[in-house]
Amino acid sequence: MSAAAVPLAAPDRPINGVALAIVILLFVLVAVLGFVAARWRRGEATGLHSLDEWGLGGRGFGTWVTWFLLGGDLYTAYTFVAVPAAMWATGAVSGFFAVPYTIVLYPIVFLLMSRLWSVSHRHGFVTPADFVGGRYGSRALTLAVAVTGIVATMPYIALQLVGIRAVLTVLGLGSAENVLLTDLPLIIAFVVLAAYTYTSGLRAPALIAVVKDLLIYLAVLVAVIYLPIKFGGWGTIFDSAETKLGATNPATGKPVGVFIPGAASYSAYWTLALGSALALFMYPHSITGVLATKSRNTIRKNAAVLPLYSLMLGFLALLGYVAIFAGTKPIDLNGTVNPQLVVPQLFLDNFPSWFAGIALAAIAIGALVPAAIMSIAAANLFTRNIYRDLMRPDATPRQEAKVSKIASLVVKFGALVFVIGMDQSAAINMQLLGGIWILQTFPAIVAGLYTRWFHRWALFGGWLAGIVYGTIAAYNVVNPVTKANFGGSIAPIPGTDGQVYIAVVAFAINLVVAAGLSLLFRALKFSDGKDITRRSDYGADENDPKVAQLEREHPLTEPGGPAF
C-alpha cells in the first residue's frame, strides 16, 4: 500500500514516511483487534447468531466499555476534523457551539435514556423504531422512524470517510491526476472495516474504541500543552484569531467570522447547541450504544463521566485557533484551501514525525469506530423494521443476524460510493439535512417514553410537517460566496429576523402539529393502536424478568398478546 502509492503523490505534498508507517502499523493492529473481538465475551450457546449478540454485543457492556464505546461513537473523526476546521475558518458560532452542545447533552441523556433502556430490555427491542412500534402499534410511524434513522445515518458514515481522507491527504497519499489511486487506501481501509464488522459485530468497535480513545486523548493532551508553550501562550493565539476573524471578507463585505458572538448571534448559538444535543441520541448509532449496556444505570453513570470527552473536544476546537497563529496552510490536492485539513496539517507541521503519526492514526481510527457502529445500527433498523416487520414477520434470530450482517455491508458500500462518486459537499449537505431530519423523530420516541397522550397518526403528521419545513428551509439557505443551496443550518424564524438553527424551528412545528392533531383525532375517536408496553417496563432493570418470561408465569388475560 505504501510502496505503490509513493510515486503517485502530488509533487507539492511529499510523503512523510515515518508518520505513514506508524499510521499503517496502528491500522493493522486495530484490524487484528477487530477480528479478535469476535471471541470476546462470546455468548456460549448462540455464538453471534442473533441481533442481541451481533448487533448489540450481547447487551452486556459495563460502565468502562460503554464509556469507551460511546466516546468513540459520539465524538467521531469527522467531529475532530470539522470542529477545529470551523473554528479556523469562521470562529465561534459555527465551531465552539460544540462545547455547550456536548454539555447540555448529558442532562438530557440522563433523563431519557434509562427509560428507553428499560423498556427495550424488557421487550427485546433492538432499535428505536422497535420501541415506537411496540408503543403505538402503527406501521407507518415505525417505518417513518426507521427510514429517517437510516437516511440520516448514511451521510454520517460517508463523513467518517471524509475524516480518513483528510488524514491520508496530509500524509501525502493521493494525486490530483489519478482519482482512483487516490481513493485506493480509503477503499482498502473500508473493506477491512467491513470485514471485521461483519464477523464480530458491535464487539469490534467496542474493543477498537479503547485503543482509539487512548490515542486521541494522548494526542490532544500533548497538543494543548506543547503547542501553546511553543507559540508563546494562549494570549497570542487568541489575539491572532481575533484579528483573522475580525477582518472583512471581500466576497461578502462582512467579517470573516465570529470571535465572540454579538447579540445578533445569541439565538443561533444556543439553538445550534440545544438542537444538536436533542438530536444526537435520536441517531440510531447512539441508541445502539445505549441498548448494548448491561443495566439501567450504566448509561446514567456514563452521563456523568462522558463529559471528559467534551473537555477534550473543547481543547481540540481551540487547536483551530492555534492553527491560525501557526499559519497552517490546509491546501488540498487540487490546490484549493480545504479547512478540514487544518488539524492533521497542524500535527504534521509541528510534531516530530513519529508523534504526528500517532495523532493522525488516532483521527483515522476514530473514523472506523463510529462508521462500524453506524452501519450496524442502520442494518439493525433495516432488519427489524423493514425486513421483519414488512417482509418476514416470522424471521428467526439467526435469520435476523444474517440479514443484518449483509445489510451492514450494503450500507458501508453505499457510503463509500457516496464519498468517491459524489462531491464531498454533497455528503456534508446530506449530513446537515440528516441532523434536521433525525430531530423530527424525537416526539415519537421521547414522548412515548412518558405518555401515550399523543395520537400515533398525529405524531406521524408532526414528523412529516417537521421534515418538509426543515428540508425547504435548509434548501433556501444560500451560501453568500458560492451561491449554492444548502449553504448552512441557520435560517430566520419565519416572519421574524431572529437567526436560529433550522432543526429547532422544524421541531417546534412538529410538536405543535402533533399536539393539535392529537386533540383532533381524539375528538374524532380515531383508533388508538395497540400498546404492548406496561407501566412497569419503564423502570425495569437487568434482573427483572423479561416480558417473554412474564408471559409464561403470569399469562395475560387477553389471548394472542404481544409476540415478543
Binding site: 455547550p100 454539555i103 442532562p107 494562549w234 465572540i260 445569541y266 444505570n297 452521563a303 405518555t451 388508538d528
Partner: protein
C-alpha cells in the same frame, strides 16, 4: 400504579410493578439540578464577553469549558440521588411481594 392514559382497553391488564411508589423529593431535586445544567450553559448573554480572561483565554471560552466539569458534577449528584431512591423503591416492592408470596 395506573394513570388515565395507561388504562386504554388495548392495554395488557396484568402488570407486575418492578418498583414501589416514588417519593418526590429526590426527583424534584434532580430535576432542578439538571435544569440548571441545561439552561445556564445556553444563556449566551451571560458570557459572550472577553474579560476577565484567564491565562490569555477570553472569558467566553474558559467559562464554557468550566461548565463541562460543573455539569458532570451535577449529573453525578443526580445519579447518586436517583439511584438511591431507585434502590429503596425496589426494596419496597420486593418486601411486599415476599410478604404476599402465598398468592
Amino acid at each position: 400504579m395506573s394513570s388515565p392514559e395507561m388504562s386504554s382497553p388495548d392495554m395488557p391488564t396484568h402488570d407486575m410493578p418492578t418498583r414501589g411508589p416514588a417519593r418526590p423529593g429526590p426527583y424534584v431535586i434532580t430535576g432542578i439540578l439538571l435544569t440548571i445544567a441545561v439552561v445556564v450553559p445556553l444563556f449566551v448573554p451571560a458570557y459572550s464577553v472577553a474579560e476577565p480572561s484567564l491565562a490569555g483565554m477570553p472569558f467566553f471560552y474558559w467559562y464554557q469549558m468550566t461548565w463541562i466539569p460543573l455539569t458532570s458534577a451535577l449529573v453525578a449528584i443526580s445519579y447518586w440521588l436517583v439511584s438511591k431512591e431507585d434502590r429503596r423503591r425496589r426494596r419496597a416492592v420486593r418486601d411486599t411481594t415476599d410478604a404476599g408470596e402465598e398468592r
